[in-house]
Symmetry: C2
Subunit: 137 residues, 2 copies
DNA sequence: TTAGATGTAAGTAAAATAGTGACAAGGTAG
DNA sequence: CTACCTTGTCACTATTTTACTTACATCTAA
């Protein structure tokens, strides 16, 4: 899943905005997906230590303050791709260019990915919560 | 297509490395795809003004020096996505968070995309050609 | 005219993504 | 302890993207 990341941010924002704990059905209603999807994503977030849930009892809750959670934390937790840019896979290794292009692209793509992640690292869940509740500009 | 971008870079690197003009079949052999794919991508690159081709006559060639072509130029030409990060599509607008999450994410994703593109803008086709022909480190 | 190249449309195959149903495991209230 | 609800997971189906291929009109050059 690819929009898992956005769903993860949505879930965490909900938890940050809500006073009490929220069940997967309730969260699902806001996100607009099946509760199973919510439980899958909260499972990833739990494994990453961003929230806690308990089997059998409704409700997930953050493990730390929202301003201590960056969007990069969420990105990693949601198993988003290591690189959003993909190299084509069957270059001809007998050709000098075909043989070297993968390494060259991996290098550049790595740098571009780092730039993207670095920007995500600067935004916290608190920033998102604030933006979400702000009246449309 | 998603790896179209990488294929585009591969094609341009080939042209930059080659002395004479190269036909779609020849290029296809190095990239490892069907010649039709090459012709499709060269079509995009031609529309973007990065190379020229002529119907009926074999061979594509760059319209300007390789150090005057950035990977961002290629990114745009290859119709790569405006944003590599995607927002989920059915949030519940009746929920405050559901109503505001899209705008909030679009904002952040736009910044992250800008960071990525900015990095791509700093790399030229010459840099890639150089890296490609460098012995493995 | 003939051979070979590009440009493009149309269609098929494969793969990634999304969505759903089922159920075991655990918790809580009565 | 029973009934009912919730989470965690698996397995399966559907939809959408992406990849690949065939076919052919158009054009060039010899």
């Amino acid at each position: 899943m690819n929009s898992q990341y956005s769903i993860a941010v949505h879930i965490l924002t909900l938890l940050d905005s809500s006073s009490g704990p929220m069940g997967s059905a309730e969260i699902a209603a806001s996100v607009g997906v099946n509760p199973v999807v919510i439980r899958t994503v909260t499972g990833l977030l739990r494994k990453a230590g961003l929230l806690t849930t308990q089997r059998g009892v409704a409700g997930a809750q953050l493990t730390r303050r929202a301003d201590q959670i960056s969007l990069l934390d969420v990105y990693r937790a949601a198993q988003a791709p290591d690189s959003v840019l993909k190299v084509h896979q069957h270059p001809n290794l007998a050709c000098p260019v075909g043989a070297g292009i993968q390494r060259a692209l991996d290098e550049v793509y790595g740098q571009a990915q780092a730039a993207l992640e670095s920007r995500l690292a600067e935004v916290t869940l608190s920033d998102i919560t604030r933006a979400v509740h702000q009246p449309a500009s």
